[in-house]
Point group: C2
Chain length 359, copies 2
């Protein structure tokens, strides 16, 4: 079965081999304080840094999920006020997380399927501390405008900028000089089993957490930024992590590095073009995101006259599966994940199967 | 290599086969909201319930680690005051977690290597809300007195009782009618890769969390008890969990159920007897825990004239490894984990190798 579901998703082709190696090496039984473990965490950090062009002044920390990092961002980086661009279910959940944590969070909402572009239409409180951006809304297939991120950086230099890049990376062309923190989970673009979040933070984030701590504010316990920072020089985590997932991330990001990010980006865009061309030219299907600037390359949301369930019934004999819709419009939509784990040939087979089955 | 390290530890013998099945079935790519996923989570819950004799009025929730559950216990169950029995590094960390979270936590300390027994020597504030017990101190190899738990229950019926059972379960003979919540991580007694915590809670815990919430207190976001409870009737989790670990737990607890808990307990005690007999009768070794009532059956801490590092050098050609000491006395100690993943034959081989190498 090939999974075009947007997370959990198709495993990267080398995952099974790497799991076997981890088992053969007894990696799941060694101490997370051992040199051997440290060398694998270091490899994960270095491969990610090289693959994603993460500057040296950003730290790389490992959590259990991106959902956890929503909490940790608010806990460590916000005294009172955060600002959230909301254009789907996941950006909304980041916003409600901040509200649940007692912050005066403010949201700016775009209609579902639409993005944000005009800096002049955005009005933020002067005392806003954190700008929260969802780079690729997994629910609606809308990508965030990079120029707007640059504009926000210039307009609000004192605010920290957080980017939830869950369903875009390693694709994404994010300019780290425009942002302060970026995070993701590994079961989307990296094609790994779920259970690991990656949190990338610069010194401004660390300083903010430390100033909150110094002021007697609560910044969490074992997963506060100072706690991560205490362990990361040794390439360790504050508590026993999902070691197998870190092992797999180290190796799969190495494999991706071997392929090269520019090749991955090229392939992603090529596959996305095939998918969008197909759905634009097919009766009963159309892209949910109309504005070309807003269209995600990694999660294609399709308006469909046929339910995702029916489509998956058609696809079953072809051993393929697409993702259902998500959010208020889910019954009229399906989603196709276009992550690096699926090849151009896989996409061609999917489109051929859809052509054949749906007339 | 056979790992007698107390966590991460030796994988249960069936783990590799179950991982292969999970990969063959595409389990890591399916939705955590699908019926197929739910059936596996349900299997994990039912097998654990049967194996550990968990009563029906206890819920079973899945987190990322036991470390996380320290936070969640305090967050959900304590307005102001918790009481902690401290006799090693991990019970102390539960205590300091409560302090970090701003609670008026109180600790009662036993000397390292000693347990608690006398109810009359324990004095708790009337308004204490949570009694925190570490069932098996992984750092010192001291087990908590079951009769004392029963005594505390009778003496302080209004307080909730939390049991950190990280390195005892599935062995442990815990009487659930004496406690309100029990938790553990899976990389110890269950012999699984790290990255999953199991949190077992009764209705009193739920009620306490809900009363805290109703009073406007912060009980967390996605991993609050009400949030777990919202998803658990469908055998789902609030966010994408470590699905592979839940799959493995479902199957390994099924394998253990097939063996039978009484057989596992019998084997554990038999292996523990072999280990304690050996170290008591060997020059240069002695059990750290002197009082027989306090001795852990699952983690044997050995006072040793030879460092753990040297012993592991000796053991290398035998493809075996013991655990280093932990905490202030770690240089003079080593630890032998006696979890279900190591067989009687494995223990016999370890002791024969130690006999042969250390004269």
């Amino acid at each position: 079965m090939i999974y075009f579901t947007p997370g959990p998703s198709q495993l990267y082709p080398t995952v099974a081999t790497h799991i076997q190696s981890a088992l053969d090496e007894g990696f799941c039984s060694i101490s997370h304080r051992s040199r051997r473990y440290e060398s694998i965490q270091q490899m994960a950090e270095e491969n990610l840094r090289a693959l994603m062009n993460i500057p040296d002044h950003f730290h790389i920390f490992f959590t259990s999920s991106a959902t956890e990092i929503w909490d940790r961002c608010i806990e460590n980086l916000v005294n009172q006020r955060s600002f959230h661009f909301v254009n789907g279910s996941f950006s909304e959940r980041f916003y409600t997380t901040a509200l649940q944590m007692g912050r005066d969070a403010v949201s700016l909402e775009a209609p579902l399927g639409k993005g944000f572009h005009d800096l002049h239409e955005i009005h933020m409180h002067e005392d806003n501390e954190l700008i929260c951006i969802t780079h690729n809304e997994t629910s609606t297939g809308v990508v965030f405008d990079h120029e707007l991120i640059s504009g926000l950086r210039k307009q609000y230099p004192d605010a920290l900028i957080a980017v939830d890049a869950v369903s875009s990376v390693p694709y994404g062309k994010i300019n780290f000089s425009d942002i302060d923190t970026l995070f993701f989970s590994v079961q989307k673009g990296f094609g790994l089993p779920a259970g690991l979040g990656v949190w990338i933070c610069n010194e401004r984030c660390i300083a903010k957490a430390e100033s909150r701590k110094a002021a007697g504010k609560f910044i969490g316990t074992y997963h506060s930024l100072p706690s991560f920072l205490k362990h990361s020089p040794k390439h360790q985590t504050p508590s026993t992590p999902n070691m197998l997932a870190i092992y797999l991330l180290a190796h799969v990001s190495g494999d991706m590095l071997h392929t090269g990010l520019s090749q991955i980006e090229h392939d992603t865009e090529h596959k996305a073009r095939l998918i969008y061309d197909f759905i634009e030219n097919r009766d009963g299907f159309s892209p949910f995101v109309k504005d070309l600037r807003d269209r995600s390359q990694t999660v294609v949301v399709v308006e469909s006259a046929i339910s995702s369930k029916t489509i998956n019934e058609f696809l079953k004999p072809h051993e393929m599966q697409i993702g259902g819709g998500y959010g208020p419009l889910k019954e009229q939509q399906f989603r196709i994940a276009n992550f690096p784990a699926v090849s151009t040939a896989d996409v061609e087979r999917l489109l051929a199967a859809l052509s054949q089955e749906i007339r």
